[in-house]
Point group: C2
Chain length 159, copies 2
């Protein structure tokens, strides 16, 4: 499925959502959705704010970004992640394969890997709950940091 098609589809879904919930259809909201779906991968509020100004030369206040993001999450077009205590990260929900997040607990770097596909029968076992998405976070130490750790331990031993 090409990106053009996804963008149209997603926009349609958003319009539906706004209409149903009696929210206004503003240029800002469309611009934000479009911009998010013009790139893949993670972003945070800051990078979104900056890239919208630079790439799309569309200036939106941070308040509006937060505001709109809440709507987009609510209608399932954007997924929000919270890796460690840093700023929240977001990513578009469609046109992004489901993937796990491999997070280094030392340096915070986030790597993605194909999802081990939690079987849908397993998900169905969850009662009294409507699943909208799931995230697998695998924490550990990346090769760079584990090297740093070894170095540090060696220094400790010598002291």
């Amino acid at each position: 499925m090409d990106n053009e098609k996804i963008r149209d589809q997603v926009r349609e879904e958003f319009v539906e959502y706004l209409t149903l919930h009696k929210h206004r259809k503003t240029a800002e909201r469309y611009a934000i959705l479009d911009h998010i779906y013009s790139t893949k991968g993670h972003f945070n509020m800051d990078s979104l704010y900056n890239s919208m100004m630079e790439e799309a030369s569309f200036r939106v206040s941070r308040s509006t970004l937060y505001n709109t993001m809440e709507l987009l999450i609510d209608c399932g077009l954007v997924v929000k992640h919270q890796f460690g205590a840093n700023a929240s990260q977001y990513e578009r929900a469609y046109g992004n394969e489901n993937h796990d997040h491999i997070i280094c607990i030392d340096c915070g770097v986030v790597r993605e890997s194909r999802s081990p596909l939690l079987s849908s029968t397993q998900l169905k076992k969850i009662t009294k709950f409507t699943v909208s998405y799931y995230s697998m976070y695998i924490y550990g130490v990346c090769s760079k940091c584990s090297h740093a750790r070894r170095m540090k331990l060696n220094r400790m031993r010598k002291k």
Copy 2:
């Protein structure tokens, strides 16, 4: 395995860690570890701070709590979670079965369920990375909130 035994074992591991890393063995650090392993379930800095004063009548500053928690996470005795944007939550790593977290994106309530056992062969596929633990977060809407959503939508339609 009874709790007494776990506490001893965990304390031993902590002592080892402190020694290896040339960190000092302070009363505060032991008190915090002991207190954490005297309860199950999630806690955050605030609840820990309060419960330590009330239950253990041991007063530790918040700085020390943060400080010590970092050590405990580093040596794998405590696991840190970040559900939504609220305060970080923690839980003891041993004597707690591995479980998933089912999180309501509306009200933020966190429910636990038995883990679907990510197979260890799948974990081994991750290269250049030392896995220390993983968390599965399943986001969606709990029954209470999905009821509230339906009500709201009905009101919207009528307007």
